[in-house]
């Protein structure tokens, strides 16, 4: 495909027709899941949902790192900020509610928060001050690689990392094993796969007999990925197919993987609203304990437990949305009490959250395609 063809609507329509035929061939409703906010962005922005066949459900899974950051993890950052350290983090994290406060609340009561666009920027802030600077590091393996790089690059002594990085492949296992899961195939994120390579999904496919297709982010990347995925489902030939070969190789970026696993070890932990995910969290290895904010600052989460959670939070269905069981329109708070300016759940905070994306792009992506 040439550059232009990635956005050629005629090509998209012809792929939509193929998709329709393939879904019909299965003789049933088919549900597939993508695990990436950027995929949802493109689907919503270009109105692709109205092109999908009615019997194909394309669900956004836990593909928003901000959204799956668990409440106690936000609490940890708030408690460290309260001790006077400067917290450097990505903009979206500011508004994510903890059990009592968000970082934005902490900032309003005097905590020092710096918005950064890369881990490197946090190191630069640390070099320019004598204060303790803590990088509150969120994101999947793509961002974790950037954090690993600054950790291996001799950061100054007043710099440390509060890692809440998450690792995608294990959560796919959890979703595949959920008893209510209807997911028959996964669309994997092209940018993450440039790091991990396509082979990282091979054990998953063997274990669960569910196909995985790696796709890029232009509208026709997604259409082509779905055609391939539904074809694998129809033919009952589950395997990994790389539909983003202009960036992704089978083995991935070996140098980046080496740095990633040298700095981090996988550890079990809760993903907000989903479940405990074995090996789903990335924590610093002991060799880097001196850079681990959890070792440097006393963190007493029980000090927050006297406070009741906000009443509305109890009605938030972010967890079900991320697990693909329900969608934002099923939530009684969506676009009423819960809006980007005043989010109840994390899915309305992040630009990669399903609720925020649906809010931005009109909220009701159920229109018929034009003739």
């Amino acid at each position: 495909m040439s550059e232009l063809q990635f956005r050629d609507p005629r090509l998209a329509r012809s792929m939509a027709a193929t998709l329709d035929r393939l879904v019909r061939d299965t003789g049933r409703k088919v549900a597939v899941m993508h695990v990436c906010g950027s995929h949802e962005q493109a689907i919503a922005k270009y109105g692709l949902r109205s092109l999908f066949p009615k019997s194909l459900e394309v669900i956004m899974g836990p593909g928003c790192p901000v959204c799956v950051t668990d409440v106690p993890e936000v609490d940890e950052s708030v408690l460290i900020a309260a001790q006077g350290a400067r917290i450097a983090t990505f903009g979206d994290m500011l508004k994510v509610p903890g059990s009592v406060k968000s970082l934005a609340d902490a900032q309003a009561s005097g905590a020092k928060i710096d918005i950064v666009y890369s881990p490197q920027q946090a190191v630069e802030i640390a070099r320019s001050t004598k204060e303790e600077v803590v990088l509150f590091a969120t994101g999947f393996e793509t961002t974790a690689v950037a954090t690993a790089a600054v950790i291996l690059d001799d950061p100054p002594p007043n710099f440390s990392v509060l890692s809440v990085h998450k690792y995608i492949p294990p959560v796919m296992e959890i979703i595949a094993e959920m008893p209510e899961s209807r997911i028959e195939g996964f669309l994997a994120a092209g940018h993450a796969a440039t790091i991990t390579g396509s082979e990282v999904f091979e054990p998953f496919v063997k274990r669960h007999n569910i196909p995985v297709v790696i796709a890029g982010f232009e509208p026709n990347d997604i259409m082509a990925g779905l055609v391939e995925l539904v074809d694998l489902i129809r033919a009952k030939t589950p395997r990994v197919v790389n539909m983003f070969p202009r960036c992704v190789t089978r083995e991935g970026n070996l140098e980046a993987q080496k740095q990633l696993w040298r700095v981090f070890r996988p550890m079990g932990g809760r993903w907000r609203g989903i479940a405990h995910v074995p090996n789903g969290n990335l924590r610093l290895r002991d060799e880097f304990a001196h850079l681990d904010a959890r070792k440097r600052f006393p963190i007493d989460l029980t000090s927050l437990w006297d406070y009741a959670p906000p009443a509305l939070a109890g009605q938030c269905i972010c967890g079900d949305i991320m697990a693909g069981i329900r969608n934002p329109n099923d939530c009684r708070l969506f676009n009423r009490e819960c809006v980007p300016e005043n989010p109840v759940g994390a899915c309305m905070v992040s630009n990669e959250g399903t609720c925020k994306i649906w809010h931005l792009y009109g909220g009701v992506p159920d229109l018929e395609a034009s003739a």
Partner: protein, 349 residues
Amino acid sequence: MSAILLPFTGGRVTLKQGGGGRAMRALIERLFVRDFATMPFDGVGVDAMDDGAAIRIGDDWLVITTDSHVIHPIVFPGGDIGRLSISGTVNDLAMMGATRVLGLTCSIILEEGFSLDSLEAIQRSMIATCREANAPVVTGDTKVMGRGEIDGLVINTCGIGLTRTLVRDNGLHTGDRIIVTGNIAEHGLAVMAARHGIEFEGDLVSDVAPMNGMIDSILSDPDLADAVTAMKDPTRGGVASALHEMASKSNVGIVLEERALPMTDAVRSVGELLGIDPLHVANEGKALLGVRADAVDRILARLREHPLGRNATVIGVCGEERRGSIILDTGFGRRLLAEPEGEPLPRIC
């Protein structure tokens, strides 16, 4: 979508409430319209929330509008606060059909220490724009405030005009076509580039201009004037905000063809780079016209004869589906266009 409840007690005004989107509309409705609209008044008043007011005088309508200008920076590619303050008010009059301006007022509030050279340059720019629009400034007022009490200068202009063909923003019917008179999003992005010192390949120049001449070429022709059902200039909040207002006041749905939207390559790529939808970005020299389908070709031809209307084109059609909403046809599929909460950028006009 339900309106956002404003936490009034103890709350503070936010920049977003001046951004031309939903937040601003909610503030104005709650604070001003509700009480001001209780006084008896024959004509188009504050509760219509149109571009201006219209007062009946015999067979004519006296149209009156006012606008304060607080742009930063005061000089930007394609214009300055002087040109903007005249164009903005002349355009608001024109959007209601008052294309021949009787007079303008001009109030200036200056900060102590403001450069007299800059002031003179702004004044020259105002005069030049007045000549272009054939709109005389007939009275004014000047105040100076202490250093730090105001940022540079604020210009308020008020305009009056007479018209027999009053055009509103709520007259769209099923089947009407939506015309935009030229390339969109140029003002907002040019100001942003100037403010942040961002340099882009290609030209990002504000479209700020008085449009009353172009609009007059339509409205002064009775055959064409009758076919114009609604007008609005898509300033803050951009085309998205203006169309939402027109659709909701007219109780029609509008299907917007994303690929028909005229824009320069510079606007397209800068928008994509910064993640800003050109539909949400302000224009200061563009109009949206609702026109009856049978007259659309003649009106387009007339608009294109005018230098400001060379790129005029049809971008949408009104229908019964999803009344009050905008359906965006992306070429791939269709989705609803969200009404922007506010401009992505404060203080742009």
